[in-house]
Symmetry: C2
Subunit: 312 residues, 2 copies
C-alpha cells in the first residue's frame, strides 16, 4: 500500500489533505490511489447540502456538525464552489462560520474549486468524499455555494441530498429548472422566523405532489439555523433517509444506481484519456488543413477516427 494512504488511514490529517490534492490532479497516479482506497470505503453517510446563495447553508452546516459531534461522530466537510478558481487551503467568505470547528480534531474541512481537476469537479468531489469515508469520517458533508447545474452534479453523488430554501428569495423557478427538486431527499426551510416560511414549506409539499410518486417522500423541516432551532428535525430526517437506503428494496436500488453513476463517471474520464492518445496520432497537420479549407468536415473526420479506435 502507498505509504501516504497508510498514514492517512491511520489518522494523519496532513497525509489526508495531500491525498485529496493528488486525486484532484487526476491521471494514472490518482486512479492507482483510488483503487487502493476504495476497499476501505462504504461506511460513511454522505450528505449533500445545496440551495441558493444566502439561504444559510453554511450556518446550517455548522449546526449539523455540532450535533453530529455531540453524537461522537467524526465529520468531514467538502466546501465546493464551482465558480471559484481556488482550491485546497482557501476558505471562502461564508465558510469562516465553520471555523469554530477548525481546531476540533474530529472535524476535517476542505474546500474545492473548479481548477486543477481534469476529471471534472463532481468526480473530484466524489473521490474526496470517498477518501474521507476511508479515513474514518462517519459523516461527510458536501456543501455547495449555489444551486446551478454544476452544484446539482456535485451533490448528486451524496447518499442524502438536502435542499435549503428560505422565504422571500423567489428562487423557486431557478431551483425547479436546475432539476434539484427531483433529486432532493430532505428539504429544509431555513429562517423559519421570517414571514412566509410556512408558505414555502407548503409550496414544497405541493410541488412534491406533482412529482411521480416514489417510495421515499422527502420530508420538510422548518429551521432557524441562526437561532439553532429545528436542527434535531433535520438530523432525524437524514437518519430516516439513511435507514430507508439501507433497509428497503427501493433504497438498495438507489444505492446500486449510485454505484452505476460512479463507474460511468470513471469510464467517461478514462475513455477520454485513452482515446486522446490515439487520436493525437491520427489528427496530423494534413487532415486539419483540409478541414480548415472546408474540403473535409470535422464531424466526418471524428467518425472515421472513432471507427478505427473503437472495436465494433
Amino acid at each position: 500500500m502507498d505509504p501516504m494512504i497508510e498514514r492517512a488511514l491511520s489518522g494523519d490529517a496532513r497525509s489526508l489533505a495531500r491525498l485529496v490534492s493528488e486525486i484532484e490532479r487526476s491521471g494514472e497516479r490518482a486512479t492507482e490511489l483510488m483503487k487502493q482506497i476504495y476497499p476501505h470505503t462504504g461506511k460513511a453517510h454522505t450528505i449533500g447540502i445545496t440551495g441558493s446563495p444566502g439561504a444559510g447553508k453554511s450556518t446550517l452546516t455548522a449546526r449539523l456538525i455540532s450535533k453530529f459531534r455531540e453524537q461522537g461522530k467524526r465529520v468531514g466537510i467538502i466546501a465546493v464552489d464551482p465558480s471559484s478558481p481556488y482550491t485546497g487551503g482557501a476558505i471562502l467568505g461564508d465558510r469562516l462560520r465553520m471555523q469554530e470547528h477548525a481546531l476540533d480534531a474530529g472535524v476535517f474541512i476542505r474546500s474545492m474549486g473548479s481548477r486543477g481537476n481534469l476529471g471534472g469537479l463532481s468526480s473530484a468531489t466524489h473521490e474526496a468524499a470517498l477518501i474521507l469515508d476511508a479515513c474514518g469520517y462517519e459523516i461527510v458533508i458536501i456543501e455547495t455555494v449555489g444551486v446551478g447545474q454544476s452544484e446539482v452534479d456535485v451533490v448528486k453523488v451524496s447518499d442524502t441530498v438536502c435542499l435549503v430554501l428560505v422565504p422571500g428569495m423567489g428562487d423557486d423557478v431557478q431551483i425547479m429548472k436546475a432539476g434539484i427538486m427531483e433529486i432532493a431527499d430532505v428539504f429544509v426551510v431555513n429562517k423559519s422566523d421570517r414571514d412566509g416560511a410556512e408558505k414555502v414549506a407548503a409550496d414544497v409539499k405541493v410541488m412534491l405532489d406533482l412529482l411521480p410518486e416514489r417510495d421515499w417522500r422527502p420530508p420538510v423541516s422548518l429551521v432557524s439555523a441562526e437561532h439553532n432551532r429545528g436542527i434535531e428535525s433535520v438530523i432525524a430526517n437524514i437518519d430516516l433517509h439513511r435507514k430507508y437506503l439501507n433497509e428497503t428494496a427501493d433504497g438498495k436500488n438507489r444505492r446500486i444506481a449510485k454505484i452505476r453513476t460512479e463507474v460511468e463517471n470513471i469510464l467517461k474520464r478514462e475513455v477520454l484519456e485513452r482515446v486522446a492518445k490515439e487520436w493525437q496520432r491520427k489528427l496530423d497537420g494534413n487532415v486539419l488543413e483540409r478541414i480548415e479549407e472546408r474540403k473535409a468536415d470535422p464531424y466526418t473526420i471524428a467518425a472515421e477516427c472513432l471507427d478505427e479506435i473503437i472495436a465494433k
Copy 2:
C-alpha cells in the same frame, strides 16, 4: 439538404433559431445537421467577449454591434450564461441593453444557458457560432456573463478573445487564476473616465511582459462604452488581430490549432456516446452489486470494460 437548413441559409431567422435549438439537444440528428452546415462556414469572424460581471461587457457589445452595422456587416450575438438554466428565448438582465438592436434584421441575438446540451456548453456555443457563420453573419460575438472556467472554455473557440477590465474591481487575481490572460488577444479597459483606468492598462502591459513572447502582442484599449468613447480603437485592434490570423504563418498555426480543438471536442462527445452504449451492456446488476459490497472496485471494473471496447 435538410429543408430547415435550406431556409436558414436563405435568411429565415426562425429556421435559424430552430436550428440552434436542434444542435443544443445534441445527438445524432445534431451531428447530421452540423455535417451539412460545416461546408458553408469559415467566412465569419468570431469575437469572444469576457470579463468580470459589472465590467460593462453588454454595453461594449451593443456599441460594437452599432459600429459593425455602420460598416454594413450582419452581426450575430450569442449571450452565454453557464450558471443559468435558461436558454433560447430568454434574454438575461443586462442583455436588455442590446434590445435596441432587437428589431434590426441584420442582427440576430440568442442566449444560451447550461441546460439541454449534453455535449457541453462550449461545444453548443461553438456550433451555434458556426450556424450563424453559415447563415451569413459576418461578425459573430460570443458574450459571457462572468470570467470563470466555463466562460474561458466558451470563448476559447473564438477567433479573437476580448477581455474587458475595469478599474477598482480588484479582480486581477481571479482573472489570472482562471487562465484568461493567456488566451486574451485584445484587452479593453472600460470605464476609462474612472480613477485608476490608466493604472489598469499599465498593469496589463506589465503582466503581458511576464508571459512567454508570442508573435501577436495583445493591444490594450482605453474605452468608455457608456459614453461611446474609444470603440473605434477596439474595432481597429480586432481587425489587426484578424489580419494577423489570416496573413501570417503564426496566425495560420493558430487557426490550425483551433481546428484541432474543434475536432477533439467532437471526438470527446462522440466517443462518450458510442462507448456508453457498450458499457450499458457490460455493467449488469451483478457487477454493480459486487462493487457495492466492496468485493470489486469501480476503477478496476472500468479499466476491464475499456480494454474490451477499445482496440489496442
